[in-house]
Symmetry: C2
Subunit: 358 residues, 2 copies
Amino acid sequence: MTIGSNGSTGAQDRRPVTMKDVAEAAGVAQSTVSRILNDVAERIPISVETRERVQAIATQLDYRPHPFARALRGAPTMLLGAVVRDITDAFFASALAALSNAARERGYALVLGDARAKAAEALALTAVLEERQCDAIVLVGDLRNEPRLVEDLRGARIRVVALWHGTERRGRPFPTVGVDNRAGVRAAMDHLTAIGHRNIAFVGTDALGDMQERLSAYREYCALSDLASTKSYVRLVANKISSGERALATLWALSPRPTAIVAANDTLALGLVHAAFEGNIAVPDDLSIVGFDDVPLAAAAVPGLTTLRMPTAEIVAAGVELAIGTADWPRDFQDLAPTVFQPKLIVRRSTAAIKPKA
Amino acid sequence: MTIGSNGSTGAQDRRPVTMKDVAEAAGVAQSTVSRILNDVAERIPISVETRERVQAIATQLDYRPHPFARALRGAPTMLLGAVVRDITDAFFASALAALSNAARERGYALVLGDARAKAAEALALTAVLEERQCDAIVLVGDLRNEPRLVEDLRGARIRVVALWHGTERRGRPFPTVGVDNRAGVRAAMDHLTAIGHRNIAFVGTDALGDMQERLSAYREYCALSDLASTKSYVRLVANKISSGERALATLWALSPRPTAIVAANDTLALGLVHAAFEGNIAVPDDLSIVGFDDVPLAAAAVPGLTTLRMPTAEIVAAGVELAIGTADWPRDFQDLAPTVFQPKLIVRRSTAAIKPKA
DNA sequence: TTGTATGCGTTATCAG
DNA sequence: CTGATAACGCATACAA
């Protein structure tokens, strides 16, 4: 047991051990302790004797550096801010996990801000945007519906990187890393048309960025491939599992009914699968469903969900590299192309060839 | 547009505005600025004229206090550490969301540590346990499988609270808030036996704490109610969705087959539901399945999962109150009763009355 | 090889 | 009413 711990109940009133304490205990100057503990010995020679004595005392006293004091002197805080669009969404939760890992690999810890919090607008300025606590900020998910947050962040003194903010080139306030939504939707549509579907509906949300791009990719595809009227086959709903019910009901009332649905993400797709089950619509026999993201539970859905696997690891890695990496920060990224990674279609059992007309 | 922002690309090289800057611009002493901006005016009178002038200049310059400098002077950091057992698990992800909200309501931001990270053992000391960054630490999920982390945290200078660490009274290193696992399992078993099940299996993980308690609650219930042999009906697997497959296969090979399974959590339960689907076992007709947690996607499973709803909001609120609330910190909590909240059985379509013998 | 002094941005304690 | 000045814990330029 070290001297610093008493082994019983945590005593949160003990005073932290400072360099000064170590210095006094060792009978040297505080600066000497600093040099030894920071291994500046390469440049400034230190007698082996004092070095070892100081090191021993430091460990014995369980000395730990005070990060804030270092930060005050200009050292990086090793804190990476993360503002997540909606942490309750399964996809963002897994993205956050990936981000946390990527950050930690570089010795960074994540400071969380949830954009969906009630007072996000007001608190953006205080808690989360106290930028000086962080070395950089990563935005996860499209946050353009939080205008004040974006406005405050643009022109921040630290780097701000946006992940999954859509991929259009112009007018982006931050460097962006994302997924090729068009390619993803095309892959889904190719898959469905290849197995005979012609009446393909789309269920999305009214959010911007990725969601918007997936919708327009769907529309383009329909126009190009001369598929059934895209207008009445589109449903924009709230991004909740329970949204599937109403969307499916109104879609199913159409004539001709869609034989397949492309959902803008897995949350919606799983909601549709569940709604189909509740409505006695067989998936995939009566209706094929494709999602987007490949959240962890997509594989375990009943039936397993055909979806587009998000290259989460790559996107997060690129984002972290931009945020806290050594590469130069782009001077002007307003018209810089976003970094884009490719999704991959994972075919499971929620899609099947269209049944021959009975 | 304020003076401080240039409106084009974020310039992360600009120097932050300090009190000194404000003071110079206002032609007063820096200490005066501090007093005015901190509203110490109640006690120390300040001329209205300078007050207004300083305040105007401060806003004009977009001055923001430097939290680290304040922390250095003993102010709280307004940072709450959170170490999550496994952030990729859907339940812990939602718990984290709740924790984040509860913290922010008190003006706190969350600093994340994921116990599953590769180097958790080593990094526990550095990144996460740099306790001085946080005012308190909340442990989410049982972390006793990280002995070094727990060891470092016990006897910490700051408050450490454990959530979902099981509820046994003795030998807990931290104050604990959790769920009544026994009551939950009893409710599940009561439900199943009430609709005729006698051969009830249990699928859990080999983790400690809650998982352990749910298993022993199952065993006790079986013994008390004289249900079928509990020994061969128990499967302990890794906490992954894919674990369901093997667990179900071996369970299904038994004679007599179980007619129902209680899973220790929803991840396992959903894995079982999916495995049953793949194995052409009808849920609930051939097999009833009960989960534990009521993760967001449980309601959208096919069929909807009968499960025990975790009182997440209450547990998190109690934990945050303990960690950063105003109440006294228990001097010795080694034998103090944990705070326990009740789960609630949510009956959906994954359970049904046992079929009369064909 | 080591000690002294300074400053990072704040707040608090003195004087004036 | 306000202005110097000393800390907070650390890193470093400068002295010795």
